[in-house]
């Protein structure tokens, strides 16, 4: 099979997949070479990473792709809030929060919307 018109599929995936992804990880290894686990610079990088992932979460809920895009935004955000609430009510239990939010999303689609 060919991708992109002319390339064998595995060569295409290797270049556009691995070739486009791995350099960032490898650069990370090189840049982290002289960083200690208790250095201030590392605390900053950790804060940057945390904000980045939080931004990713907000994007996934507010501008979803695929089947989630078909769910009413009110239900999406509501179910998200319910998940956070369940998490804290269940004394910061990760599994309970994930299950609670997802249950609300499923129930909402079948029952209300």
């Amino acid at each position: 099979m060919t991708f992109g018109g002319e390339f064998p599929s595995y060569l295409f995936l290797l270049i556009a997949g691995f070739g486009a992804t791995a350099p960032w990880r490898f650069l990370g290894v090189v840049l982290a070479r002289n960083l200690d686990i208790d250095s201030e610079l590392l605390n900053w990088v950790r804060a940057v990473s945390t904000a980045l992932v939080a931004g990713l979460v907000a994007r996934m809920v507010l501008f979803p792709v695929g089947a989630l895009a078909g769910v009413d935004p009110v239900l999406r955000v509501g179910a998200f809030g319910c998940g956070v609430l369940t998490f804290f009510v269940a004394r910061r239990n990760l599994g309970a929060g994930v299950a609670g939010g997802t249950a609300v999303l499923l129930a909402g689609q079948y029952v209300v919307w």
């Binding site: 556009a16 997949g17 070739g19 290894v29 939080a54 994007r59 996934m60 979803p64």
Partner: protein, 250 residues
Amino acid sequence: MPDSPNKPPAPQWADDATARRAFWCGVRFAPSTPAVVLFATFIGFGALAQATGFSPAEAVFTTLIVWALPGQVVLVDEVAKGAGLVTAAFAVTLTAIRLLPLTVSLMPWLRGAGVSRPLQFLMSHFIAVTVWIEGHRRLPGLPAHLRAPYFLGMASAFLVLNLVATLIGFLVAGRVPVEVAAGLLFLTPIYFLLSLIASARGRVDLMALALGFAIGPPLFVLMPGFDLLATGLIGGTIAYGASARRKARP
């Protein structure tokens, strides 16, 4: 679903443990909430790849070599659109830039005696958001010499689970109701957010979290593609700066 506590003390198995034992403990403790979430989301990826006309082997190959869901989804999408190699690679690399800060912040925990440079590059291949979160949750509680083998065990278990999930998703594609498919896609963001809260260490993390959440969406509208990097740099730097000032005050 066992979850390790926020700041784990050295677990009992770590007493006098060898690297081999640490590896297997990493494998053993991998099945947890994140494993379930990963499994479900990669079922979603397998189904997407099937709908795009990938072969099962091509779908599994993609999971193996990219190992970052957003990049994989974009890659499949570009193939579906008939995009050329350069266009597809550019679209994927934009999603992969975020792996740079994640790798920089996790690697110092994985270097130790006996961890060669090639092994460091190999370990970096496993770094994506879930592994980054779980790494920061589990590694600090371990003795330094056990972190790398434990990480490799955990990451290998995740890898096998996700390859299987990709295949299962491929097989069940088209038979999953759209409501359930939406539920599968919902698992990832809710897990990311809750585990960030669960593993937050102090005010900097919580502030970075809140800022990223607030400025992420507007930046996505303003500069799609570069939004995550900008969100991280702006939100993270403000959060870090604010806490550094607080510390500096007597």
